[in-house]
Amino acid sequence: MNRRNSKSQIPGNFILITLTIIGVVLLFVNYALGFNGGPLKTVANYVFVPMQRGLDFVGSSISSGNEDAKSRAELLKENEELRAENDELTTRVTNLQLQQTELDDLLTLFELQSTYSEYDSVGAHVVAKGTSNWFSTFTIDKGTADGIKEDMNVIAGSGLVGIVTSAGTHYSTVRSIIDDTSNVSAMVLDTDDICIVSGSLRLMTESNMISIESLEDADNSVNVGATIVTSNISDKYLPGLLIGYVDSLEESSGGLTKTGTMTPVVDFKHLKNVLVIKETKETQDQ
């Protein structure tokens, strides 16, 4: 009656046990050695990523038709405003550059290393978003062939987006800071108070915010709207990268630190192009 069993010689239980063992071994190897796919990444590289890039191109051509539905008058007005702002910013930049040269001279005099130097970076497109609805990761179209390695920071516009978790030859996966497993050591720009910024699926879904934890602010000098950047003591993130702005603060249950919420400066729903900083915290400290 059950002809199915006579077709294939391998019993079902054998397959089940073998695959379960393989799965568990992979988990352990990943935990112990940080193995993230190895040779399988090459498969992904040549089999999936080219198609993803193509689909991404098609998709963005279709969706850009929807988004740019502003009227001509609106566009012209926006253009005017942007030109004026551009002129103002160019003047400011020139001034800052002059100040920077002076600062560099003074620092060399004191024989200190310049902390916020220009970082070498490479641009990339986001070709695939998220493998599941629970975590916030995405794939970009640059990899080890372009000099990208694990733990490199990723920024977009002016703010921190995430960190590279694995890199194939021509693609990399990035974990966003809004992902629940992400914790960034950060500080308040004005007061240098240290805190931890953790991603939260729940807060992002409810109010487009992420959480601040363990903020040491004894003299209550941190206000709503304060700027949060990555701290100097983070072991994965370069210092001084803008993360966002404080939205609310309250005493934590212990009373010693504060917790709160903050708005990230990057729009994670519409990420298209990112910048990967090619210097990792490790190499910088050397």
Binding site: T20, G23, K41, F48, A128, T131, W134
Partner: protein, 177 residues
Amino acid sequence: MRKYFFKAVIAIVGSVYISFLLQTSVFSRFGIAGISPNLLLIVACMFGFMLGSKFGMVAGFMCGLVLDIFTGSYFGMNSIIYMYVGLLNGVFSTFFYGDDIKLPIMLIAGSDVAVGLIIYGIFFFLNGNSDIVFYLTNVIIPEAVYTVIVSLAYYYPFKQLSTWVDKEEKRGTRFIG
């Protein structure tokens, strides 16, 4: 038997490839309230209840493996979860009547909720996020609904595919109705 094996490999690899690309590059743009459907779950389930546990297991493992390559953490987690999804759906393959779509829909919805609860349980609940109602209403249920809707489009093509793979098996009316 050799022909059978190759057809199976082509079917599994092809569906996983296409579904993964659709899930991450196409459907992620058309998310409803930021939720995209879980197409690889549909593939694992359909291989399970149309072609039996063995197929379901292997297809599920492949689905999970592809997800693991691109997720970048806990490599192996998705492989195990989806493999068991395929396996358990395969248990129901003896109840599978070609034209009755109710059982497949229930299986897919059930599998999606189960996978959601497992991921919630391990990665969220154990980290202190104990508000299960929020995650149920905002992630698990919407994803299950969206996935079920898309599975309707998957159903008939997959039936054709399963008939093609298993041609000798399905010949003759073993099931009435």
